[in-house]
Symmetry: C2
Subunit: 255 residues, 2 copies
């Protein structure tokens, strides 16, 4: 049984708490937050505290706080030589004060407050300085069903960056599609199966092999038609840049 | 029972044939292709022909040929006053010769030769000039389980354009993520659950509400870190343009 203290009460903290709570291999012995209000509804399931001096001894302290707060927070913890991890994709492991055993437990997924998360779909990226700490974190990830991976700092950082492309930027393309369809009174809903299929396709096929469409086959007639249809100059910019990106990847001339 | 002749042997033609073949509400009485070789393996299921003069009378002729071939092909059909539709997202209905009853039967989905398609996930966009023709096409779509929609020319064209954003361009963002992760020896596979979840999220939530990340919350520190990590100037361009697109949508200042 691994004893854990969670610090912070955002989406990641809350989803981790719920996942930990489902398995008897993990015991969340305390949950700290600056404001008790946010977490007091969980007080029947764990000890909720708002005072760092009350922290108990645990196998692991998870700092699930905002990126900017990690450094200060870690240095404020009133103990040393215990395993302290943060959950951020972009913050250095070395932002955790060196008095601690340090690690990162970065769940690579998009979290929202409401939707339930199955950690089978959340690869946790684990980074540590010492081998024995890896075992603690790996065991934790396995207990919640995550396909955890050991990554180094550079890998974690590029994964976080790549996540922005496949999540935030992709979602913005959905948004642009929403704007384009609405401008003619067409239903964005009609695109939803295509959105899903596009994501499913690259589960088994590389994005390179999955590519199709007018940019890849250099279908100038269609490219021209599309640019003519686009009224918003900003949409045109995206169309031009991503078309030339596809043509660069697939060895066509630029638009 | 609707009698159908399919013309062409690409992905759309083949998937339509297979779907039609599964229901007894549709009978594919002939399949035409310029080259018999491509379709002769289906000769136990329908009559395969390579000679337009042999075309039989049917309720519907589906021109599932390349965009550029539609116009010529439709004018070459040796009959008139029968329902002829094409399957293209971007070609005008009026490219079909006016001697025919004209329509469009545009399945909005990404098709690959190998993967089986469930038409429950393929909205067919139907466009016609006469009401009675709509009924024929609607019946056909329902018979294969498609959530068909009546659209006009302008709507079909913007749907086709929007499909490029959510399919080709999104897939290119996956490709860029693949390049970025590989550059540090990180596994692209780790991103796959996120890719899927991002697509799932907008099935119920608007892309506007689904947005998260450093661009939306104007987290300048992370944006700066990311731009520093990106080595390829082309990746930087995409990062900058889509970041400013998100900030435009969500009312932040430009990067």
């Amino acid at each position: 049984m691994t004893s854990v203290v969670i610090l912070g009460a955002g989406n990641v903290a809350t989803h981790l708490f719920k996942a930990f709570n489902k398995t008897d291999q993990i015991s969340v012995i305390q949950w700290y937050n600056r404001s008790l209000n946010t977490i007091k509804s969980y007080s029947n399931k764990t000890e909720v505290i708002d005072d760092l001096t009350k922290l108990k001894v645990a196998d692991l302290y998870i700092l699930a706080v905002s990126d900017d707060a990690i450094k200060t927070f870690a240095s404020m913890l009133p103990f040393e030589n215990r395993l302290v991890v943060h959950t951020s994709g972009s913050v250095s492991l070395y932002d955790i004060h060196k008095k601690h055993k340090r690690g990162v437990f970065y769940p690579l997924q998009t979290f929202s407050k409401s939707a339930d998360i199955d950690f089978a779909n959340v690869p946790v990226c684990i980074e540590v300085l010492k081998k024995e700490d890896f075992q603690v974190l790996k065991k934790l990830a396995i207990a919640i069903g995550s396909p955890a991976k050991k990554v180094n700092s550079d890998q974690r950082k590029v994964l976080h960056l790549a996540a922005v492309f496949v999540n935030n930027f992709t979602n913005q393309l959905y948004r642009v599609a929403h704007e384009i369809t609405e401008s003619e009174g067409a239903e964005f809903d009609i695109l939803k199966p295509l959105i899903l299929e596009t994501a499913k396709k690259v589960q088994d096929l590389s994005p390179y092999l999955a590519q199709t469409g007018p940019a890849k086959r250099n279908d100038k007639k269609t490219l021209k038609k599309h640019l003519k249809l686009l009224k918003d100059p900003h949409h045109k910019d995206i169309y031009n840049l991503l078309t030339s990106s596809i043509q660069g990847t697939h060895g066509r001339k630029k638009l």
